[in-house]
Every structure is written in structure tokens, then in C-alpha cells.
């Protein structure tokens, strides 16, 4: 294993980690408010294709990113409307959103498949920092979305744990009727959380088509939305732990294509099962421990709230 290939692995670990983290953070925020959104894969696809098409149209990568975020949030709003406002079953609505998002993205992106990108978000140049050995390429040579993911993580942690609105949001996820009695709009909080979550999933998708693999192909999200769902559990619904998990799962994604270079004789396909196996394990451990201590899962997760039926 050469130094260059080791650095390459770390660089890819951080960039894949950020990709997963953005989407996972969005899911985390929605789940904290009590809404399970299994539409991550669909929202990512919508963010990816819309950002790519916006870049082709206007040639401005930042505008394209914004489009990806807005489209992600709008896609999530479909789920928000049906689950938060109408009180529909969250599992069914979320999975339908995945199907809808993947189908819609494939339909609208049909004519731009294989086209060269209109604009890309190039790696940030941090000046002398970027020239550092190891830390330079791994930490200071990444695409802008990696730094945005870090910022978003810190912001999410701060808002959720240190602000009134974060407290209200968590209350909506733990006991909606309590939040309601306290004078908060459960519908507003939950809908907002779902929309913000969709925006982050859209950003993750835009990161794919604007930086990581700047092109559009049907199915290019390749199940990463499911890893994001897994990460929320793996990170026990905490932004910090989810970041650690994102680096771990990102490392596994990065390692997948490099196993042969490292001379390891394990099938990369079997390796890619690990995130899911780990998540099931963590879920079982959480449940066993929940006998003695409170579960980290939001208590009202997955349940609809109708004031009139309180």
C-alpha cells in the first residue's frame, strides 16, 4: 500500500462521508420532529437531476446547488403534506416518495443522460493549508459541499440542543400533544423539519452531480439514501455521532473500489453489505439496552398527530 493510495482512500472517505452525512442530517431533523421519511433516495435523485439541469441551463454551480436544495425541499413537502397535514401513514407515503422521486428524476433527466456538466463545484483552495502533507488533500482539498456538510452538522446540533425552536421541534417528536399545549404549532414544526430535511437530501444529490460524479444517469443515487436512513439510527439520532458513522460508512464506500489495489482478497460486494449489517446490530443493541435506559429514538416517531383526537 503506497502513501498516495492511502491518501486517496482518506480523501474519498471524507467526500463520501459528507455525501452521506448531508442526507442523514436531513433525515435526522425530520425524525427528531417525529416524521419518518423513507423518501430520501427519491429526494436525492430529484436534487441531483435538478441541480445538473440547472447547471446546464445557467452555467452557475452555486445557483444549481440552490435549485437542488429547493427541489429537494419541495419533493419532501409532498411527504409533509400527506403525513403532517393529512395524517397519512408515514411508511407508505415515504416509500411512495422514493418511487415518485426516482421515476420523476428519470423522466425529466432523460435528455441530459451522459451530457457533460454545465458547471461543477470545484475543490476549494485553502492556500498554504492545501499544500500540507496528508491533511492538505484530505481536509483542505475537498469540494465546497464537504465544508457545508460540516457547517450544517454544527448548525443542526446547535439548533436542536441549544435553542428554543430546537426544543420545540424535539418536543413535537417526543410528545406532540405536549408541544401543542405548550403553544407550538406541531404542524408547522413537523412540516418545517421535513422540508429542511428534504433540502439537505437535495443538497446531497446536488453534490453527486455537481462534484463527485458530474453527470446524470438514472439510478445514480445507487441506494445511498438507504444508507442515510441507516446512519440516523447508527448515530443514535445525534448529529455528532452520525458524523462519525458517516465517516465510517463513507470509508467503506471508498474502500469498496480500492480493495484490489490494497491486495485484500475480499469481495467488494460483500464489503458493501457492512453498513446495513452494522445498522441492524446497532438497532438490536439499542433495543436490548432500552430495557434499562431510555431509547434514543424519538418517542412519537412515526405517529400522526391530530389535535382533534388528542
Amino acid at each position: 500500500m503506497t502513501e498516495a493510495s492511502m491518501i486517496g482512500l482518506l480523501v474519498a472517505t471524507v467526500s463520501f462521508g459528507a455525501l452521506l452525512y448531508l442526507a442523514a442530517l436531513g433525515e435526522l431533523i425530520a425524525e427528531k420532529a417525529g416524521i419518518l421519511n423513507l423518501g430520501v433516495e427519491g429526494m436525492m435523485a430529484m436534487g441531483a437531476v435538478s441541480a445538473f439541469m440547472a447547471a446546464l441551463e445557467w452555467g452557475n454551480p452555486w445557483l444549481a446547488l440552490l435549485v437542488g436544495i429547493v427541489v429537494g425541499a419541495l419533493t419532501a413537502s409532498v411527504h409533509g403534506w400527506f403525513t403532517v397535514v393529512m395524517g397519512a401513514e408515514q411508511v407508505v407515503s415515504g416509500l411512495s416518495l422514493t418511487i415518485l422521486g426516482l421515476g420523476f428524476a428519470a423522466y425529466t433527466g432523460k435528455n441530459v443522460v451522459g451530457r457533460p456538466p454545465g458547471a461543477v463545484l470545484a475543490p476549494v483552495d485553502w492556500g498554504p493549508l492545501t499544500d500540507l502533507p496528508w491533511a492538505g488533500p484530505v481536509l483542505f482539498g475537498q469540494a465546497p459541499l464537504v465544508y457545508l456538510a460540516v457547517l450544517a452538522g454544527v448548525a443542526a446540533w446547535f439548533v436542536l440542543t441549544r435553542t428554543r425552536i430546537g426544543l420545540a421541534l424535539r418536543a413535537a417528536g417526543e410528545s406532540a400533544s405536549t408541544a401543542d399545549v405548550a403553544g407550538h404549532s406541531v404542524v408547522g414544526l413537523r412540516f418545517g423539519a421535513v422540508a429542511v430535511g428534504g433540502g439537505l437530501a437535495g443538497a446531497s444529490g446536488a453534490y453527486l452531480t455537481l462534484s463527485l460524479t458530474p453527470q446524470w444517469a438514472e439510478g445514480m443515487t445507487a441506494g445511498r439514501g438507504w444508507i442515510a436512513v441507516a446512519l440516523v439510527i447508527f448515530g443514535a439520532w445525534r448529529p455528532g455521532r452520525a458524523a462519525v458513522g458517516a465517516l465510517l460508512f463513507g470509508g467503506l464506500l471508498a474502500l469498496k473500489t480500492r480493495l484490489q489495489t490494497f491486495g485484500v482478497d475480499i469481495s467488494p460486494i460483500l464489503l458493501s453489505m457492512l453498513p446495513y449489517v452494522l445498522t441492524i446490530t446497532v438497532l438490536i443493541v439499542i433495543s436490548v439496552r432500552a430495557r434499562n435506559r431510555p431509547s434514543p429514538s424519538p418517542a412519537a416517531l412515526g405517529t400522526a398527530y391530530r389535535r382533534e383526537e388528542r
Partner: protein
Amino acid sequence: MRRPALVRRERPLRGGQPLAFAVGLVVALAVGYVLLVMAGHEPMRVYQRMWEKSLSDSDAWSLTLNRAVPLGLAGLAVAVAGSMGLWNIGAEGQILAGAMGAAWVARIGETWSGPVLITAMLAAAFLAGGALALVPAVARARIGVNEIITTLMLNEIALRLVQWLIHGPWKDPESHNFPLTPMLPDQAKLPTLFGRAHWGVVIAGAVILVFAVAASRTGWGYELRVAGSSAETARYAGISLKRKILTVLLLSGAVAGLAGGVELSGTADRLTEGISNGFGYAGIIVAALALLRPSGVAFVALLFGAVQVGGQSIQIIGVSASVSTILQAFILFGAIGAGVLSRYEVRLVAGRAGAEEGAAA
């Protein structure tokens, strides 16, 4: 201040669900119409072709029926678990597991006669589907682990197992390095019924019928409904909840696994990673639209089968097959909206002040 709110009707509107379903269909066709116009197609021509290729004559019906088989079995699997308030999101993976099980039997039983081989394949598919549901079932029954996430994760695991088999141990040595398994032997194919329809249609129909009867006419089905509506009542009635959860999730997985076996033996030439093609996820929509009733599942599966067959047929005239995916999702969303309105009505209710009164009461 008054605000609109959803208030539960004293009793749901009669015929609410069929009506909701029809509304969903109309909404989907309307949305599809706009999308097709925007992409420069002639919507009526596209819809007409979808109709002709899926429902207009017996050839078309045979294709639709074939499609409805995995959709119906997957929908039934979800409905069986759902009748007890459990979500089996893992039908997609269980279908793959079933296909792997059946493919394995076809490998070792190449020399067996057709009926023996096919029976063994389907039995293996049934068991393999159940086996994939084993961890979620035990974890849910014994320690209360949420089955939604465990079954979902196993979909991705099963998909990678299939990929690994195709790229590795089961790769055809004569495939010139393409990741393909050998073709199934001829006697492993389910015989045809009429047109392109195969015997899987009869198998799926029979399985759905058995469950429909079991759910509505037996003590077992009654106990499931009781356990699903209230754990407390179930305990009073002496129903063992743990055992019910275990058997229902295993059975649900097995039924989905059977779908994989039938799909392999009925319509595929060999095991591929695309053999499930999203049937497991579509099955969840099918079950939801059928309100988790087996008889409803058969009907919705037929409609979704027709939409999927129609969707494939329009590729030839230059329309993306993803139109059918979009239609399926909108049928559901339209029906959810209409379904909610059949059980709730929109009323103007008092705003803030009223809420506080309610809280005090």
C-alpha cells in the same frame, strides 16, 4: 379566529375506498397528461397504447396477469404483516431471497423432472423468503426491535448477496466474463396457461384466496386482527403476542419469497439482480391501496400490473417507461388524499382559544 381542520366523520363514507382509488387513478392520469404534454408527447395516444398493450385482448391480459403475480404476492406479504400492525418493508429483499433459493435448487436439481424440480424450487423460495425475515421477526418478537428498519436494511443486504453470487460463485464459466449465471434448465420453467401467462397466476391466485379465507373466516385471522388492534385485549384473550409476531413476520417473508421463486421460474431465464424490479416496494403501495385486505390486493395488483405493462409498451414510441412509475406513485397519493377525506371532513374550528379549552378539559 377559526381555522380549517380535519375532523373524524361519525362513520366513514360508504364505498369510500373504491371511490378513493378511482380518485387516485384520475389524479394520476391527469398528472401524467400534463407531464406528457410538457415533454411534447400526445397523451391520448400514449394512454391508448398503454390500454391496448395491457388490457385490450387476451395476449395483453396474459402479460398483465404475469406482472400482477409478483405484485400481488408481495402486496399480500405486506398485508399479512399489516393486519397485525407490523410493517414488512423487506418484501423486495425477500423476493430476491426467494429467487436465490429457487435458483439454487435449479442448480442442484438439473436432472430432476419438471414437476419435482418446480415444486422444490417454489418450496425453497418460500423457505428462503421466510429465512430472510427471521432476524427481524425474532428481534421484534423477543426484544421489540422496530421491524421497519431491519426489514429495510435486509433489502440492501439481499441485493448484494445476489450481486455477489452473479459476479462470483454462480457466474457462468462460459459467459466470457460477463456477470451472468447459466440459463435455467427448460424443465425449471413454469408451464404456460394461455398466451404468455404462466401457471404462477394460478399459484398466486390460490395463495391469495387461502389468505383471504384465513383472514376473514378462521380463528387465526380473528386473533391477528385482535392482536393488531390492541395488545392489551390480545393479552386478555390469551393470545400470545410474541408467537403471533414471529409467525406473521415469517409467513409474510415466506409469501414474498414465493413471489421471487414464481418470478424466476415463470418469467426469467436466469437469476439477475434486477429480477425483483421494485416489486417489493410496489407491493407496499398495493397493500396500502387495498387497505391490507387480501381480496383488494388481487384487484390492485392487476391494475398496477396493467400500468407497468403499459409503461413498458410506450418505450417503443419514445416515451420513458418511468411514466408508469410516476403514475403508480400518484395513484397512491391521490387515493391517500381521497381516503382521508372519506374518513374525515374539513370543518372550520376555533383556533388557539379553543385548543386551550380542549387542553384544560
